[in-house]
């Protein structure tokens, strides 16, 4: 089992770094379905691993100047605010309707992302400094919604943040991936503190998973420089497609 944990974590770390996500949507099912972990422990442990993945990948991205800190800091406060609101309003919303809406949205974005990958569309801008005020305002509002859905569904924000940065702000896919990776770590860290204080995190599993995640995420972050943007889009589109199918199949009628 320890070898399976390390190997699985290596693959998840690599894909997460290349797609700009925390990896929660991959880690939680891996821990619950493949290894039989309790749901709450799996979520708490996964959140800690998201911090490790993000820190390993972001370290490389920050060093190479790939993270657009202006964009990250513009979107992060509203994402965090949305996450708190989401955690509070969870019970009063028709969750199935939201799952259908979000699942359909993810499905559309994944198809669109892969379509663009094959058509090789170029990014409109190279830095947030060139993004207009209207687009910045729209992106900030959508970041709040991203945080809201993150708080409601317990999913990582990366799958929503990358499309906001590429489609609304028009940033290049690699910048969006690096910036999203940095932001995901910040959001996950504040959530994980609560789980850690409640004692729900399994330290041994975190250590074993981190042994795989750290090299996986670092290699993924280094590989991002060499991988063509179209392949990054394909990986991200595939991850989004998986997330949408998970959401749509989790609906209880």
């Amino acid at each position: 089992m320890p070898i399976l944990l390390v190997l699985g974590a290596f693959g998840i770390g690599f894909v997460s770094a290349v797609a700009g996500i925390g990896g929660g949507s991959l880690l939680v099912p891996f821990l619950i379905l493949a290894l039989g972990y309790n749901v709450k422990v799996a979520i708490a442990t996964s959140l800690m691993c998201i911090v490790v993945t993000s820190s390993s990948a972001s370290s490389e991205y920050l060093r190479r100047g790939l993270v657009d800190v202006n964009t990250a800091l513009l979107l992060e406060p509203l994402t965090a605010l949305g996450a708190i609101t989401g955690a509070y309003v969870t019970l009063s919303l028709p969750v199935n309707v939201l799952k259908v809406a979000l699942g359909a949205l993810f499905l559309y974005i994944s198809v669109e992302t892969m379509w663009k990958a094959f058509r090789e569309e170029k990014a409109r801008v190279t830095s947030s400094k060139n993004v207009g005020t209207f687009r910045k305002v729209v992106s900030s509002i959508l970041s709040f919604i991203a945080g809201l859905t993150s708080g409601i569904f317990g999913i990582g924000g990366g799958v929503i943040k990358v499309p906001i940065m590429t489609y609304i702000m028009g940033l290049p896919i690699k910048t969006a991936v690096a910036t999203s990776s940095f932001m995901v770590g910040l959001t996950a860290a504040s959530g994980e503190i609560v789980y850690l204080i409640k004692g729900l995190t399994d330290p041994m599993t975190v250590i074993l998973l981190s042994i795989g995640i750290m090299p996986g995420a670092t290699i993924g972050a280094k590989a991002l420089r060499r991988i063509k943007p179209r392949y990054v889009r394909i990986v991200f589109g595939a991850v989004l497609l998986y997330a949408s199918l998970r959401l749509l199949t989790s609906i209880h009628l």
Partner: protein
């Protein structure tokens, strides 16, 4: 813009936290369960590393008199800390 120091904090903060947690687990299994606190100190270090990196980014921009990014970084930190306290208070 390259951020060398925040990058180093992220890398070595995570590694140091993991090593401390691993050492704690080894000591718990070999000597005494009292060393569990060392494990949790390590995990705490991992969790606070991204925020420490953000503080360093804020400091870098403060030194360069870039008040806009500095303010945004501090605002993000305040909201994240408030969010954590709110979630803890909720139970």
């Amino acid at each position: 813009m390259r951020y060398e120091t925040p990058s180093l904090i992220l890398r070595y903060g995570t590694i140091a936290g993991l090593m401390m947690a691993a050492l704690g687990e080894v000591l718990v299994s070999m000597i005494s369960p009292a060393f569990k606190s060392l494990t949790y100190c390590g995990l705490g270090m991992i969790v606070t590393t991204p925020m420490a990196s953000l503080v360093m980014i804020a400091a870098v921009h403060a030194i360069r008199h870039d008040l806009k990014v500095f303010t945004l970084a501090i605002l993000a930190l305040v909201i994240m800390i408030t969010a954590t306290i709110a979630m803890l208070a909720r139970g």
